[in-house]
Structure formats: structure tokens, C-alpha cells
């Protein structure tokens, strides 16, 4: 604990140290920050020093540790806030009901849904099973804290190539990480009984040392049960419920706010928490019940920084402070130092604030579920927090100082946006057939049922449009999943992910815009109207100007799209420092989109339905091959990354949703990775049917562009044969008729070129790769 010269043990029968900041040299301060695991800069330490000088006393280790948690990048967004304020925070939307631990949006007159996505990257890189499991645990608590029943989990995952056989020291094999992460999500998500309905698995060499594990959760609640993560005022007490507190998960946030290194395994193993879904599951029931009965003032989740963050935040949100009896906290083992109890990120814990007179009823509810619940403190008028441990005051800080972390507008520097670079054409084999089969087998495109079927995606029985679509056993992919959260209404929620790290790497602004376009396309394709976005922005070290430039541009793109499309962004998460000595992860802005489905009975899936039905491309195809799956696979580079015209996206959305409500559209799939060729192939798979057509209608573009360009805002639709005229009258210039649903092969002609593939062969190519790699 601390460098010896600077720390002085106070004369109490437990570990408590005072730290002599006043006499320390800058070098000693830096050294102390390191040995105590504070991860504070010299400038930040000087601010701390000035605060205590003014108070006329030395800080305790409990206080310093607490400040380090509160001021970490992870907790206070010190490097991202200035960009988020400019592009995201100001977005107004009438349906936003709350922006707390999770965002909350109106669903209908009486109900609301909550949404949030965040990262659990660093812990998962060290311990994939536990890191991913506790990621789920954390995001579920965020949603629960709003008073919402969690109803769906969403997990976009990013790994290095699965066939990689050697990795740098301290890095784990991508295959091991992927298996561990999926198992962690499976065992936690399935046990708490919340369906994992969407996500994705992405592979790139840059993720080898920096796997990204993003976890999202959707919740559902009655509007009158919405909670605001705040105490109501003096007279409230603080009740800590759920798991016990131990040494697991100490320094999780400070660890997440630095680059990983080959030493992270040994140094930071203790930063990874231990998940316990069978404490979480009853904790969910009990929290919802005490909220339902109106017994609580507010609930807040114990996540990053543990008690040290939650107590101050829940009290300050209600305009108050708190006094906590730290020795009342139920422990996993005896002998924890006060600072360890205060900053531990042990899992499955929630903080409840309630009026004193409700305590007995609340404890009774938790007792029925055998979940520990303990009054640990009370709310006070003065906006400060003090901690008492065995009668000794070990902590006394003003909340204004503690929670107002530093904020930096660090410099950014434009990197080369490759849209401006010359095009290097990919080296393509002779036959389009082999290009299509090979692209279908690209791990980024291939079927993810290896993971999807390990997740219980149907528990709660409200998953009405599923993550695998088509004939049972012969499924194809889904664009979005649809939930029907009420038993007495056909209104639904469409849930989808949009992210393209390769676009973002070449052109961060258009990469951010494309992520939103993709999330919207996916929602529209099932019959939903995009309503809200939440994002998990995974980037490299923000102290490096070129990384921060990528972040700034992606955020600008996302913010503009949200404004133009009237989408709310009620929550979000930033994860920096996804970077090792080998380099950064691709800049990865993951967008989780939620749409409203007016009537789930009108939903549409991706699988072709009936032979001879006409097939249309909605939206024109442009020569936008930059960072496309084709270029990546066959060594192309440069070229334009797809741009977005929001007015065009809007009119196509209105067109498609209108046609779907009239029942004109039998299947719909957005054009995304792999372009039109892969979209058509995937539609054949789910329906176990074929396609026959000619791309002449797409104009005078090269065949490679028609087949593989990833131009945004495009869809392929199958229209009921007898109603083709009606559809064409509605669609006008947006629709290009390219052929019709075939029986068992995909045949595409364009000028002299031809594709002719059996659906069965395409299925083999698409279905098998992940099973072969992951077993």
C-alpha cells in the first residue's frame, strides 16, 4: 500500500493510511499514483493536493482511491465529454423520459423502454468468461436501476482471426477468447433468464490484442414506475442489496482507463469481477417488487468504482449528501481495508434509497428471496459524503469536488482519410461464383448460429422475430429481432446493431454515419420505425491526437445522423485505450438501434417466401467500394467509403413501412457487408429457394460494383406477385426490378458476366466456417 515515505498509518486497529501529498516531489507523486494504482496524472494530483491544503489536512488512502475512481476516464468521460457535448448531448427528442444509468424512452401511452450498451473490453481480454459474464451483469443492473424489467440482451463481439496460432506475449488466442466470451454470456444470460437476441461477431487482426466485448440491454417498464437514480431527500436511508463485497474487481475502472500490456494479466487479474447469476436473478425480482410497491425513492447500480461512485452520485442526484457506516457492508471475507470495501466492484449489488419507514417492508421482500439487504447509511442535507469505520471517520469529501472530475479538450490530428487515396483494385479470381462462395465463408459474413443457438434467445417468450429466420433447420440471417413486450398489445420493439469498423478506420465520419444507417436499415427491414439509438464508442488512446480525431469524427457523424433522422440518443458509453504495444483496435463505434413496430403481425423477415415473386433493389447503387468486404478479402484499397443521404434514407423508410403495412412485401433484407450479391444469397438460404435475375436495371456500373458495392440505405425486397403493380406505383424511382425468386439456385446475369450457384452450395459455404473454427 503506497510508497512508504509518503504514507503514515493512522493509529486505529485496521489498515488506514494518510498520504503526505504536501511534501511530495512531482516524481514522488507520480510514483505514488502508480503504486497505489490511482492512474491519476500529475496535474490531477496537484488539484487534489490543493483541495486538501485548503482543508488543512492530509487525505486518507480511502479518499485518494475514491477520487481516482471518480476521475477515471471510465467514470467521468474526461477526454470525450467535450465532443459528446458538441454532437450528442444537445439532441432533443420528445419521447426521452430519462437519461440515467440507462436511457428511457416512451413506448406507448403507459409504457416505456430502457436501453443502454457499454463495453467490457479490458476484463474480457484478461479473463474472457468472467469478463463477459460480468459485462452482462453490469448492463442488466443499469436497466434495472431505472425500475425496468430487463427483456433483452445484445452482444456485439470483436476478436482477432480465429485461425491465428501465435500471439504476442500476454495476449490470448482469439479462438480461446471467442469461446470464453460466448460461454460467459451464455451461462450468465441464460441463467438470469433474459434472452440474448442480437449482436454479432466481427473479426480483424487489430482485435487480436484488444478484443471488444460490447454488451447491451433493453428493459421495459410502466411509465409511472420510472426511477431516477436519486435519493428523495433527508430522511432517506441507503440500503445495499445483492451480493457481498470482496476483493474481486478492485481497480476495474482505472484498469479500463489505460492501455493493456503484457503485464496486465498478472497485475490486473484482481480487477476482473466474479459473476453470480443466481444472486442476480432473485435480486432482479426483489428490486422490481419493491419498486412496484412504491417502497423506494431511487435505485442505482454498483458498477465501476463500486460504493465510492454510487453513494456520492445517488445522493447528489437528489441534492443531498450521505453518511455511510462502512463496517456495515456485508463482506465475502473478513479483513478488507476500508479503501478496498469502498472501491471494490464486486458484482450483483444495487443501492436502494428509501424512506426509513419502508425499510422493514423492503428487507422482508429481499429476505423471501434470500438476498442480503443491509442499511448502510443515511442521507444528509450537506452535499458531502463521510464514512465511518469502527467509529473512526475515514473519509470526508465534498461531492462537488469528488464528482466534478477533470475535463480535457485534448488535441486531435487528422489522419489520412482513405476516401481521398487512389484506388488499388482487388485481385479477383476468374469466376464470380467462387468470389461469392468465398465471401459467404468470410467469418465476418458467415452464419453466427454457433453462438446464437447457445444463447437462449426465446426465454420470456416475447421474441417474435428471431435472430435466425426462415425454415427451421435451414435458417438464414436476421436484420433485426422484434420483441413483443406486452401480452395485451401487438406493439413491438425492433432491436438491431449497426457498426462498420473498417469504414470507420478509412473514413471515421462516414463510418459513424454508416453505423447509424445500418442500424436503421436493419430496423426498417423487419417493419420497425427507428426511434432511439445508444452507442458504445470503442477507440484507442485519446492522448494520441490521431486516435482522438477518429473518435471526434465518428461522433460527429453519429450525432448528425441522429438529428437528421429525429432519433433520440438517451444513453451511451465510451471506451478508450483499446490499444496495446502492437497497435490500436480498429475504431469501433457500435450503434444499438431500437425501433417501434406498430403491429408485429405485419413484420417481415429476410427469407424468400414464394417462387416467382418479383424481387427489387430499393435504392441506387453507387461506386463506393472503399473498405468493402470484397476489397478487404481480395486486397483492394482506397476508394470511397459509402456516404449517407438522410433524406433518401427517410423516403425509403416511409416507402417500405407503408408497403409492409399494406402487406405487399413478403421478404426484405438490407444490403450490407458483401453488397447485393451476399444479400440475395442470404435471402435464398432462409427460404431454401433461389433467385433468377439480371442486373441490367442497375445501369452502367462495373459488375463488381453492382454485386459488391456496400452503398448505404439500400434494401432488397420480395413483393407479392399479384401486387407488383401496386408496389411499383408506390415505389416509383426507388425500386429497380432485378428478377424473381427462383427454386434452388441463384442465377444472376450482368452484361457478359454470370453467377450460377446452387443454394445448397451457398448454404454450405455460409453455414460451416464458424463451426469449423470454434467447434
Amino acid at each position: 500500500m503506497g510508497s512508504k515515505e509518503l504514507t503514515r498509518k493512522r493509529a486505529v486497529p485496521f489498515p488506514l493510511f494518510e498520504v503526505d501529498l504536501f511534501s511530495a516531489s512531482p516524481d514522488e507523486l507520480r510514483e505514488m499514483s502508480k503504486t497505489m494504482g490511482l492512474n491519476l496524472s500529475l496535474e490531477e494530483l496537484e488539484t487534489v493536493k490543493a483541495y486538501f491544503k485548503a482543508r488543512g489536512r492530509l487525505p486518507t488512502d480511502v479518499e485518494l482511491q475514491s477520487i481516482a475512481q471518480a476521475w477515471s476516464e471510465h467514470c467521468c468521460y474526461k477526454s470525450s465529454k467535450c465532443f459528446l457535448r458538441e454532437h450528442i448531448f444537445g439532441i432533443k427528442h420528445p419521447d426521452v423520459l430519462a437519461k440515467g444509468d440507462a436511457g428511457v424512452m416512451a413506448f406507448d401511452d403507459e409504457h416505456a423502454y430502457a436501453l443502454r450498451v457499454e463495453s467490457h473490453n479490458h476484463p474480457s481480454a484478461i479473463e474472457p468468461y468472467g469478463g463477459a459474464a460480468t459485462g452482462i451483469g453490469g448492463i442488466v443492473r443499469d436497466v434495472l436501476a431505472m425500475g425496468a424489467q430487463p427483456i433483452a440482451l445484445v452482444d456485439p463481439l470483436f476478436f482477432g482471426p480465429l485461425d491465428l496460432m501465435s500471439v504476442p506475449q500476454g495476449v490470448k488466442l482469439p479462438k480461446y477468447l471467442a469461446q470464453g466470451v460466448v460461454a460467459g454470456i451464455r451461462d450468465y444470460g441464460n441463467r438470469i433468464g433474459i434472452p440474448t437476441v442480437a449482436g454479432g461477431m466481427f473479426f480483424d487482426p487489430s482485435y487480436t490484442g484488444n478484443c471488444l466485448v460490447n454488451v447491451g440491454c433493453i428493459g421495459f417498464l410502466r411509465k409511472d414506475k420510472l426511477l431516477n437514480n436519486a435519493v428523495r431527500g433527508v430522511g432517506d436511508v441507503l440500503i445495499l442489496v445483492g451480493g457481498r463485497t470482496g476483493r474481486d474487481g478492485i481497480h476495474g475502472v482505472t484498469f479500463a482507463s489505460a492501455e493493456l500490456s503484457s503485464r496486465s494479466e498478472d497485475e490486473s487479474r484482481g480487477a476482473v469481477q466474479l459473476g453470480d447469476p443466481i444472486t442476480k436473478e432473485p435480486t432482479i425480482h426483489a428490486c422490481l417488487e419493491v419498486n412496484e410497491r412504491g417502497l423506494v425513492s431511487g435505485i442505482k447500480d454498483l458498477g465501476g468504482g463500486g460504493l465510492s461512485c454510487v453513494v456520492g452520485e445517488i445522493a447528489l442526484a437528489g441534492g443531498c449528501g450521505a453518511v455511510v457506516q462502512l463496517d456495515k457492508v456485508p463482506l465475502k471475507e473478513a479483513g478488507l481495508a476500508p479503501w478496498e470495501i469502498w472501491v471494490s466492484e464486486s458484482q450483483e449489488r444495487m443501492m436502494l434509497a428509501s424512506p426509513k419507514e419502508n425499510v422493514e417492508s423492503i428487507l422482508e421482500v429481499f429476505d423471501l428471496w434470500d438476498v442480503p439487504a443491509t442499511v448502510i447509511g443515511e442521507v444528509v442535507k450537506e452535499q458531502k459524503v463521510s464514512l465511518i469505520f469502527q467509529g473512526e471517520e475515514v473519509f470526508d469529501l465534498d461531492l462537488d469536488f469528488l464528482t466534478k472530475g477533470p475535463e480535457y479538450c485534448r488535441p486531435t490530428a487528422a489522419s489520412n482519410v482513405s476516401t481521398l487515396l487512389p484506388v488499388k483494385e482487388p485481385q479477383l479470381p476468374e469466376s464470380w461464383n467462387s468470389v461469392i462462395l468465398s465471401t459467404l465463408a468470410d467469418p465476418n459474413i458467415a452464419c453466427k448460429d454457433w453462438a446464437i443457438m447457445q444463447y437462449d434467445h426465446e426465454v420470456r417468450a416475447s421474441t417474435v422475430i428471431k435472430p435466425l429466420q426462415g425454415k427451421p433447420g435451414l435458417h438464414g440471417p436476421a436484420d433485426a429481432t422484434v420483441l413483443k413486450p406486452r401480452t395485451d398489445s401487438f406493439r413491438g420493439l425492433a432491436i438491431a446493431i449497426g457498426v462498420n469498423p473498417w469504414f470507420t478506420s478509412q473514413d471515421p465520419y462516414n463510418g459513424g454515419r454508416s453505423a447509424v444507417d445500418e442500424a436503421c436499415r436493419n430496423i426498417i427491414a423487419v417493419g420497425g420505425r427507428p426511434h432511439a439509438l445508444t452507442d458504445c464508442l470503442n477507440f484507442g488512446n485519446p492522448e494520441k491526437p490521431e486516435r482522438l480525431f477518429e473518435f471526434k469524427e465518428a461522433v460527429r457523424g453519429i450525432g448528425e445522423m441522429a438529428r437528421d433522422l429525429d432519433l433520440a440518443v438517451p444513453s451511451g458509453n465510451v471506451s478508450f485505450y483499446n490499444e496495446t504495444a502492437q497497435g490500436p483496435a480498429l475504431p469501433t463505434p457500435t450503434v444499438l438501434g431500437v425501433g417501434i413496430v406498430e403491429d408485429i403481425r405485419k413484420c417481415v423477415t429476410t427469407d424468400f417466401k414464394v417462387e416467382r415473386n418479383p424481387v427489387y433493389v430499393i435504392g441506387e447503387t453507387r461506386e463506393e467500394m472503399g473498405a468493402s468486404a470484397l476489397y478487404r478479402r481480395y486486397g483492394g484499397s482506397g476508394g470511397s467509403v459509402p456516404a449517407v443521404d438522410t433524406s433518401v434514407l427517410r423516403s425509403r423508410m416511409d416507402l417500405l413501412l407503408g408497403a409492409m403495412s399494406k402487406g405487399l412485401i413478403r421478404s426484405c433484407h438490407d444490403c450490407s457487408d458483401g453488397g447485393l450479391a451476399i444479400t440475395l444469397a442470404e435471402m435464398c438460404l432462409g427460404g431454401d429457394l433461389g433467385f433468377e435475375g439480371d442486373l441490367g436495371a442497375l445501369g452502367d456500373l462495373p459488375t463488381a460494383v453492382k454485386l459488391f458495392s456496400e452503398t448505404n440505405s439500400r434494401f432488397v425486397v420480395e413483393v407479392e406477385l399479384s401486387r407488383a403493380g401496386e408496389f411499383e406505383a408506390l415505389a416509383k424511382e426507388h425500386a429497380f426490378r432485378i428478377g424473381s425468386v427462383g427454386r434452388s439456385r441463384m442465377t444472376i446475369r450482368d452484361k457478359g458476366a454470370a453467377v450460377d450457384l446452387k443454394t445448397q452450395a451457398m448454404r454450405r459455404a455460409w453455414s460451416e466456417p464458424l463451426w469449423r473454427s470454434l467447434g
Binding site: 438470469i192 433468464g193 447457445q454 434467445h457 417468450a461 427451421p472 433447420g473 427469407d607
Partner: protein
Amino acid sequence: MKLEEIKVCILRIEGTNCEQEAYDAFKALGADPEKVHLKQLIGRSPGELRRELDEYQVLMLPGGFSAGDYVRAGAIFAARMKSHLAADLENFIASGRPVLGICNGFQILVELGVLPSFDEIMSEAPQAALYTNVSGRFECRPSYLKHENHGKCVFTSLLPRGEIVAIPVAHAEGNLRFPSESEEEFLMRLEENDQVVFRYVDPNGDYAGYPWCPNGAIGNIAGICNPEGNVLGMMPHPERAMFRYQHPDWTRSGGKPDAPGDGHVIFRSVLDHVSKRF
């Protein structure tokens, strides 16, 4: 008795997690379900929450991971029931009232010894096991079941024999096994007693291996009842197929999306039985 008077006890402990949809299934058909914690039935809850098993006409053990399934699936829930509720449960079953165990519920009924229960209502030790799936994996997928009961099972009285229903599975331990020395005998007794209710088949209705039999269960068995026909355990989840729109292929199969799904008949049958008999 009237449908709305039929009280259904949906029993749960920590980790039971399919109770809401089980509740919704009975509610949708007009019965009176209640989610009840085991502690409420064994006198370990505050007074106003106390319940007696005898107050209910149907007992339902829903799916999930009760107590984490960390020992063996269903073992902990079964042990708690056996030590505190054995007599009440035996009386309940002896009175002819129906007991339904789905997924984890089936595992619990087997651990309790009330299935297959050849010679007594509740055997002292389990006579079967729901072993780890042959794939070694959690399997969440569509499955097809052939109804094979000749009429004894009160949960399928309205489903013609030989009918194929599409009901999804989601489990890691659904591989029904008997002690190897009694395997043949037990299979024969199941047949003789008309205890086989569902077998896994492929979409054409033929017996098939993985993935149509998702777990490798002996004889493709997906669900069995006791010799009296009032206790049913099954791995697939009928409560997830109450309406067409819950089926995986409803957008292609035509018909009204909100028409009853293939799991509906199980809940309808048992409520029909109870309303006629009691």
C-alpha cells in the same frame, strides 16, 4: 369447476426464470395462476404470503436454472421440495391433480422421483436422469414433437395421437437416460403404461437424430407422464408457442399470426380436464 376458478401454482425459487411466460400461458386461457416461492409453501415466509399446496388445482414447475443447476439440473430445487413438501406433493398427485414440469421443471420432477414413478407416486431415488446433451452444448432451437400418448395424459387429451407439433427447446441437459441395467425394462414399462407423450421427429414427422433430437435422449423421448397420466414432464417449451407469432417461421407459413400456436393445446387440455373433473 369454472375455468376462472382453477388456481395454478407456478412454483419458483432463485434461478427459476420461465415463470412469467408460464403465468401468461395460463392467464391467456382464463385460469387463475399465481407465482409462488417455495418458501411460501413451507412456512418460511411472512404470514400474509403463506400458501398451502392444497389450495391449488394445478402445480406447474417452470423452466430456468433453479439454484443455478450447479449440482445437477433441478437437483437442489428437488431436494428442497423433498425435504419440506414431500407429503403435500404426494397427496396432491394422489388426488389426481395435474403437475406440469417444463425443461428445468421436468428435470426437477425426475430428481424428485415423481417421473417416471413406475411403482409409487414418488420413488426414493431418481429412476432416470436428464443427462448433458450429446452435443455438449446448450441448444436453443426449434424442434418438432410427435404426440404418442394413447389418451392417458391429461395434458394432451385434446391433441390427436400422431399429430406433429412445433415447440422449441432451450436446454443443456435434456438427454433422458435410464440406468443401463434397466434401460430395456424401463422403456418397455413406459410403453406398456402409456407414459410416452412426445418424441422428437424431423419436419417430415420421422424419427431423426441430431439436430432434430437436440439432446440424444433415449428413444427420442421429449416428454413422459406418470402411469396415472396426471404428471407430465417435457423438455420443450410449450409456453413459448402459445401463438403463431411465437413460431420461428410464422412469416412464411400463412394463417393468422395471432391464432393459437402449437403449445396452446397442452394448457387447453389440462384446464379442460380440471374443469370437467373437479
